[in-house]
């Protein structure tokens, strides 16, 4: 499986990553190599095999009671935010 420049640009757009012009060629090559290596999976006979999502087979997902357990610590958490005003996260204007 090979990928070309427009594939890389499309994937980067989907993944919300900006790439510098000179990075694109490198990813064409290295993603192509990775997908070629991953292609070995075609060797495996998997008809009727149940897909395995995680190693905890047979353990049911726990649920907790629907109770308030966390206190409001937004001022502390927002100390890490790039831009905050009046307790709100500020981003560029979305609606004109």
């Amino acid at each position: 499986m090979s990928v070309n420049r427009s594939d890389i640009e499309n994937i980067a757009r989907l993944a919300r990553l900006s790439l510098r012009e000179e990075e694109v060629a490198g990813y064409v090559e290295t993603l192509g190599n990775i997908l070629a290596m991953v292609g070995q999976l075609d060797r495996a006979e998997t008809r009727g095999i149940e897909p395995m999502a995680h190693p905890l087979a047979g353990l049911a997902q726990r649920l907790r009671a629907d109770e308030v357990t966390e206190t409001d610590r937004h001022a502390l958490y927002q100390q890490n935010a790039p831009r905050v005003e009046s307790g709100l996260y500020i981003v560029p204007k979305v609606i004109e």
């Binding site: 990928v3 594939d7 890389i8 994937i11 980067a12 757009r13 989907l14 993944a15 919300r16 990553l17 900006s18 790439l19 510098r20 990075e23 490198g26 990813y27 290295t30 993603l31 190599n33 990775i34 997908l35 290596m37 991953v38 292609g39 070995q40 999976l41 075609d42 060797r43 495996a44 998997t46 095999i49 149940e50 897909p51 395995m52 999502a53 995680h54 190693p55 905890l56 353990l59 997902q61 726990r62 907790r64 610590r73 502390l76 958490y77 100390q79 890490n80 935010a81 790039p82 831009r83 996260y89 981003v91 560029p92 204007k93 979305v94």
Partner: protein
């Protein structure tokens, strides 16, 4: 103070603290001095938290004086910078989180803090734990204490290097595809990846959630046992944490190796394995035979597909986990964003390094419309086959053995050009992550003056048995007591 203080393991240090041979503050000062002195050569740390360490050590001395001490009170530790530490930068080796000061402690950090350990600082690591050589860190590569031209392994390269150079008796670490065991092997120390679900991952920055597990690196299996007991256990804050009793791992070290059924994994002794490394592994197996263990050949027919399986599953999960880094709520934000999409794209493009972007894009590709069945579903099915191979093997044997890594440490820069070559370093370690079983690496010899590791793999929740087998091996051998010449 005794020059050999740093050469003592956790158990020896605990005994010294109990007998008032030295105080926790004196011990912390001694090791902080070594960490600072080694930093220019090894670059093993991202943050050295001197003030907080001395304050914690003083508190520990108070506890010791009051007769309230537990087995870990006053003992120093380094945390991999993937674990959130309240009030201390938690970077995950990334520019993205260079400015992130965690508002809370990871459960592992909180438990070890409550047990009285003294955090010396945060260890360097591959960016977001994606790497096998510690060369993807935004803070620069870690150097191998045995030879600074060589990599220490990764992603927990800082954790392995500080223990190898005896800058800290122990360090926490994480393992998604070999990130505890491979650096432990390449740096000549002991590293344990517990069973998936054994140790809480709350506050441990996520890479691939069906594979990630927290563990420990120390100089011996005995020290790993001591720490695992304090780290393991149910945590309601981690939905993958398993509610199972935590055995007394230290008491279990007394389990004899006699009668242990050991399976030698045929597929791990392949053409990729360094010949001299292979000779050391056979010598290690002979030690177990001498101790009365029985050795049989075992086959894991699908394990050869571990690397391709992993490089679908792990990037897929990483692309989704790392979507949270959006430049809005925390982490790096680009300058002067034109609009919201531009803010996302440039913040992420600048904040992530080349390998992290490669994995996010690989994951995005294999999960994209039209490719999901061919890649992700197929990989999940092969994962089932690999997992079944392990389950079948453990019907016949107690423990599987093999190499941890195909070769000893390689030179810095040797494998950075071709990611697939780098990925193949984890060919023997990834299987345990896919199956979710515990595994550890112990030093078993040297090749060209560089350490090599023996890997032991056990069934789910068999950490006690694995640690006991490793301990029995370390009672018969002295590889784990060797210290690099430059760090006496």
């Amino acid at each position: 103070m005794s020059a050999a203080l740093h050469a003592r393991g956790l158990a020896g240090l605990a005994a010294g603290l109990a007998k008032r041979e030295f105080s926790s503050v004196e011990l912390a000062r001694h090791l902080l001095g070594r960490l600072e002195a080694a930093q220019p050569q090894l670059n093993a740390m991202i943050s050295i938290t001197t003030e907080a360490a001395l304050a914690a050590a003083a508190r520990a001395d108070g506890t010791l004086a009051g007769g309230q001490a537990g087995p870990l009170t006053g003992l120093p530790i380094v945390h991999k910078d993937i674990f959130c530490t309240e009030g201390v930068r938690t970077s995950c080796g990334s520019r993205m989180l260079d400015n992130f000061v965690s508002p809370y402690d990871a459960t592992v950090v909180a438990k070890l803090k409550a047990a009285g350990t003294v955090m010396l600082g945060k260890a360097n690591m591959d960016e977001f734990a994606m790497g096998s050589s510690n060369e993807t860190s935004w803070y620069g590569p870690v150097k191998n204490p045995w030879n600074t031209a060589m990599v220490p392994g990764g992603s927990s390269g800082g954790s392995a290097a500080v223990v190898a150079a005896r800058l800290s008796p122990a360090a926490t670490a994480t393992d998604t595809g070999g990130s505890i065991r491979q650096p432990a092997a390449l740096s000549g120390v002991t590293g344990l990846k517990p069973t998936y679900g054994r140790v809480s991952r709350y506050g441990m920055i996520a890479f691939a959630s069906s594979l990630d597990q927290a563990g420990v690196i120390a100089a011996s299996a005995e020290d790993c046992a001591l720490l695992l007991g304090a780290m393991a256990g149910f945590d309601p804050r981690d939905s993958t944490s398993v509610d199972a009793p935590v055995p007394d791992y230290v008491a279990a070290l007394a389990l004899p190796a006699k009668g242990l059924r050991i399976g030698i994994v045929k597929e791990f002794f392949d053409k990729g394995l360094d010949a001299e490394n292979e000779r050391q592994l056979h010598a290690a197996c002979a030690v177990f035979a001498k101790l009365g263990a029985s050795l049989v050949d075992v086959s894991l027919p699908n394990v050869g597909l571990s690397v391709p399986t992993y490089y679908v599953v792990a990037p897929a999960e990483c692309s989704s986990n790392l979507a949270r880094f959006d430049g809005v709520r925390f982490g790096h934000r680009c300058a002067n964003p034109q609009d919201l999409i531009d803010l996302y794209r440039r913040s992420r493009g600048e904040g992530f390094g080349a390998e992290v972007k490669r994995r996010i894009m690989t994951g995005t590709y294999v999960l994209s419309a039209g490719y999901y069945d061919a890649y992700y579903l197929k990989a999940q099915q092969v994962r089932q086959l690999i997992s079944a191979d392990f389950a079948r093997a453990f019907e016949r044997v107690d423990v599987l053995v093999g190499p941890t890594s195909p070769t000893p440490a390689f030179p810095l820069g040797a494998k950075t050009a071709d990611p697939v070559t780098m990925y193949l370093n984890d060919i023997y370690t990834i299987g345990a992550n896919l199956a979710g079983v515990p595994a550890l690496s112990v030093p078993c010899g040297f090749v060209n003056d560089l350490p090599v590791g023996l890997q032991l793999i056990g069934p789910h929740f068999s950490e006690a048995k694995l640690l006991a087998a490793a301990h029995a091996f370390q009672q018969e051998t002295d590889w784990h007591t060797r210290i690099p010449r430059d760090w006496p």
